[in-house]
């Protein structure tokens, strides 16, 4: 749901956070599980924060009505233990678990659920993060303390995916519609935030750490660790070193290079979990406002499907996976990642074939010019702006590859590195030809599919053009009709068929060249903690899931009895075997040992060379001054 940069780090911020910043609380040595992350959260207020890291805090702090299964992403019980829909599919009844309580002991009732949903329905600011879940809901009521009834305009599958964090009415009723915009939702000194999730925030220091404690009243049982700390690192290298030194127990969002240095380190297990993110090369397919008014200055060549198809054939996706991701990912196809196996398709027709790409352009009338750049039928050379993001090293790197791929078929790409905030506005105004970016896709495909509908193109307000979700400006009535159909189709199998058709349309029109699906590279101290749960089971990401499964199940190794330990190590084994397959951990160990001695030798030689030079120069100098004196 959130555009998230893949471990892109501004090199200016080299210094890591001081390790001493996190205080140790009780004398009874609580079990602390520390996670290193590469980006601070933007807010603890669930109406304000939009970064993936913030959402991780929200779901740890607040439970949702229903959850997403760790096994296969299907809807699962959350605060509600059961739910059912009426025959016409327009009335939904959720039954809450018995005896739910907030962390401060106040009972958690259906009234809290009604309060939260009504606040979003009636609010304006509150709509931003959760608007797409409630736009179909007409009323939310509580016939009794354990029952919530919602009515909708049309039947909709999103009613099983309501990722709305249920807030405690007795706390949030004190925060009015105006105050919520600047409400930080941070705990007072020595207190915890009132919540219903497995962990509760007790302390946050901007740019340094977020500290949480286990919730004794959590409905699935108190987690095995007492404290959960998220420590923020500004640099992937520092994050990897922190894991080796044992400052942290888990490193999330590693880069491939740092990941491979961690392979084979004693006590560390590396885990390349499949993830729901993809990166793409996008085109300006005719930037326009919602009403169809053209905007921007995109080259009209980009509106020619044959040009985009040729570009798609010119890009070697496998090489991008090998070189940029170091193999930790799979070549891209459509906008729904293979993690969602029931929805994903791979038409597999747009293979790497520069000869075919050249042939397509020749046939389309883009003749090769004298300087190796093709000239379009309109007499304009095929020279395009291609924006990459300076926030992400891999994005800039991709730009280099794209430039070379395109040069091979007679297209000149002018690589323009800008930062993400600037690019977001450039896209919204339609002032681009191509750009490189990525998305993280939710289990429910609605949000992702909506980004290609006509209604999500930019809009005008008070003479200013504002970006909406569409960044390709793709607009197709057939696609929009299918989008409406899938959002009302409650039969999952039938809906999947529609979603597959929609992916095929995007693929055939080449609205995006999906370059790759990347793995979430994680590593943890397997000598200290065990019990992690992947989503989907066995191959998926361990943290940053749709749910808090690993946090609920992680346990310290020293406290284990023998029997528990064996079962725990079994659950960790898929990761271990996978990392061995991917990199060959013994080989990695040897080279890292060898290169360390190499490093020392290199340093010594360099030092000697410099010292020698300086001595030689000083001698020459004194000689020459003597010469001058004479």
């Amino acid at each position: 749901m959130i555009r998230r940069l893949i471990a892109g780090v501004a090199a200016a911020t080299i210094v890591a956070v001081p390790a001493a910043a996190v205080p140790h609380a009780q004398a009874a040595d609580p079990v602390v599980f520390t996670v290193g992350i590469l980006s601070d959260i933007d807010s603890l207020n669930p109406f304000t924060g939009i970064l993936a890291e913030s959402y991780e805090m929200f779901q740890l702090q607040y439970a949702t009505l229903l959850s997403t299964s760790s096994v296969d992403f299907t809807p699962d019980a959350g605060l509600a233990e059961s739910w059912e829909t009426s025959a016409d599919g327009k009335t939904w009844t959720y039954t809450l678990r018995p005896d739910l309580v907030w962390s401060d002991g106040t009972p958690l009732t259906a009234n809290d659920v009604v309060y939260t949903f009504n606040r979003i329905l009636e609010g304006r600011y509150e709509q931003r993060n959760y608007g797409n879940y409630v736009r179909n809901i007409t009323s939310v009521t509580a016939p009794d303390d354990r029952t919530v009834v919602m009515t909708t305009k049309v039947p909709s599958p999103i009613m099983e995916r309501l990722a709305v964090y249920i807030l405690p009415e007795h706390v949030w009723s004190g925060v009015d519609a105006k105050a919520v915009k600047s409400f930080a939702n941070e705990p007072a000194e020595g207190e915890t935030l009132v919540g219903s999730g497995p962990f509760l925030v007790v302390e946050r220091r901007t740019g340094q750490f977020i500290r949480m404690v286990a919730n004794d009243n959590y409905f699935k049982g108190r987690p095995q660790v007492d404290e959960l700390v998220f420590r923020i690192y500004n640099n992937p290298d520092a994050l990897g070193q922190a894991l080796i030194k044992g400052e942290i127990d888990f490193a999330s969002g590693l880069t491939a290079d740092v990941f491979s240095t961690l392979e084979g380190q004693e006590g560390i297990t590396t885990y390349a979990g499949s993830y729901s993110g993809f990166n793409e090369l996008a085109f300006n397919m005719g930037a326009a406002l919602v009403d169809g008014t053209p905007i921007g200055d995109g080259n009209p060549h980009m509106q020619d499907q044959r040009v985009r198809l040729a570009i798609s054939h010119a890009i070697d996706r496998q090489q991008l996976v090998d070189k940029i991701l170091d193999g930790y990912g799979t070549p891209g196809a459509t906008i729904i990642p293979p993690t969602y196996s029931t929805l994903h398709i791979d038409p597999g027709t747009q293979t790497y074939d520069p000869a075919l790409a050249n042939q397509i352009l020749d046939e389309a009338g883009y003749a090769m010019g004298p300087d190796g750049v093709r000239i379009g039928p309109d007499g304009v050379p095929m020279k395009y702006r291609l924006f990459v993001r300076t926030d992400s090293d891999s994005s800039v790197k991709s730009g280099e590859y794209f430039k070379s791929y395109l040069a091979a078929i007679g297209i000149e790409a002018d690589i323009k590195p800008v930062d993400e905030n600037a690019l977001f506005e450039i896209i919204g105004r339609g002032e681009f030809d191509m750009f490189e970016w990525g998305w993280v896709v939710e289990p429910d495909p609605d949000y992702q599919l909506s980004t290609f509908t006509c209604g999500k193109r930019s809009y005008e307000d008070g003479g200013e053009v504002y970006a909406d979700l569409s960044d390709s400006f793709f607009c197709d009535p057939e696609y929009d009709a299918l989008y409406a159909a899938q959002s009302e189709e409650t039969d999952q199998a039938a809906r999947a068929e529609i979603v597959k058709q929609m992916q095929q349309i995007i693929y055939d029109n080449v609205a995006y060249v999906v370059t790759y699906y990347y793995d979430n590279l994680e590593a943890y101290r397997s000598d200290r903690f065990t019990g992690f749960v992947g989503q989907p089971e066995g191959s998926g990401s361990l943290l940053f899931q749709y749910g808090t499964y690993s946090y609920e199940n992680v346990e310290p190794i020293s406290a284990d009895t023998g029997g528990e330990e064996s079962s725990a190590s079994a659950s960790a084994s898929p990761g271990a075997s996978e990392s061995a397959d991917a990199g060959g951990s013994t080989a990695a160990e040897e080279t890292s040992g060898g290169s360390n001695t190499g490093l020392i030798i290199g340093l010594v030689i360099a030092a000697l060379v410099i010292i020698g030079l300086v001595i030689a120069l000083v001698r020459m100098r004194s000689k020459s001054t003597e010469d001058m004196k004479e």
């Binding site: 280099e400 590859y401 060898g594 290169s595 410099i610 020459s624």
Partner: protein, 264 residues
């Protein structure tokens, strides 16, 4: 002397780089090596994360680093000399204003100013040249102004004034030739500083990320975790090149300065 030899070597490399190295070997999609290969016969300084030869990158980087260094120095010298001579020649409010601006540029810390400018202008080699050029002229202007003041006190300037020479004539025909040796000596010293600045800014990601200058090579080494990987062949060579070139320019500059001292 040693400075000249080192300089001659690097200039030669910079000039010959495009002749000796085909653009193919720097093309990321056609790189033949493995990721982070240690030095070998085929790759004397190992490979980077794309499998390209570091030696070739370095040779190509020489070209970019020297070009940026010389071009930015040229801008810096032209501004510095013009401001310096004018500030020394004229009297009154105009001169005070020029001295004020020079002082302002001297006090403002270089790095924050350059980072802000580079961010506003956007990352490209040309912008880097401009940014460094317009942030590093103040020292030269100071020096030239002092020299101008001392020259202007000499009798022949007074004579030329009496004969009716205008401001322009005095500045270009009498002052400029006399401060020129100083300008030259100072140029070589400035080049050293400017190359260091270029490396710094490129390392911070403010240069053109697609042009492999030495600073940019160091930047990508750092961001791909070459240090953790123990890939010393990726980090040390560009660093040593910078040190050598800066040292060479400094030596030549000092030598020229000593020669000038005898004359003025």
């Amino acid at each position: 002397m040693a400075g000249l030899i080192i300089l001659a070597f690097f200039v030669l490399v910079a000039i010959l780089a495009p002749i000796l190295i085909s653009p193919e070997s720097l093309d990321v999609t056609k790189a033949t090596g493995e990721r982070f290969d240690p030095p070998s016969l085929a790759y004397p300084l190992g490979t980077d994360e794309d499998g390209r030869s570091i030696l070739l990158l370095l040779a190509y980087g020489t070209r970019i680093s020297l070009t940026v260094g010389l071009a930015a120095t040229l801008i810096s010298m032209v501004i510095g000399t013009a401001v310096g001579i004018m500030a020394g020649h004229f009297r009154g409010a105009g001169s005070h204003a020029l001295v004020g601006v020079t002082d302002w540029f001297l006090v403002i810390p270089f790095l924050p100013l350059a980072i802000v400018l580079a961010t506003v202008l956007g990352p490209s080699t040309l912008n880097l040249i401009i940014v460094i050029g317009i942030t590093s002229w103040a020292g030269t202007a100071r020096l030239i102004r002092a020299q101008t003041l001392s020259i202007e006190g000499r009798p022949y300037i007074e004579r030329s004034k009496a004969l009716g020479a205008g401001n322009w004539h005095q500045m270009t025909r009498h002052v400029l030739p006399n401060v020129f040796p100083l300008v030259l000596a100072n140029t070589t010293l400035t080049v050293a500083i400017v190359i260091l600045s270029e490396t710094t800014l490129s390392f911070l990601g403010l240069g053109d990320p697609l042009a492999p200058s030495w600073g940019a090579i160091l930047d990508s080494a750092f961001s791909t975790g070459a240090v953790s990987q123990g890939a010393w062949w990726y980090v040390l060579p560009p660093g040593i090149c910078v040190v050598l070139v800066v040292l060479a320019f400094t030596l030549v500059g000092r030598a020229m300065e000593r020669i000038m001292e005898g004359r003025t």
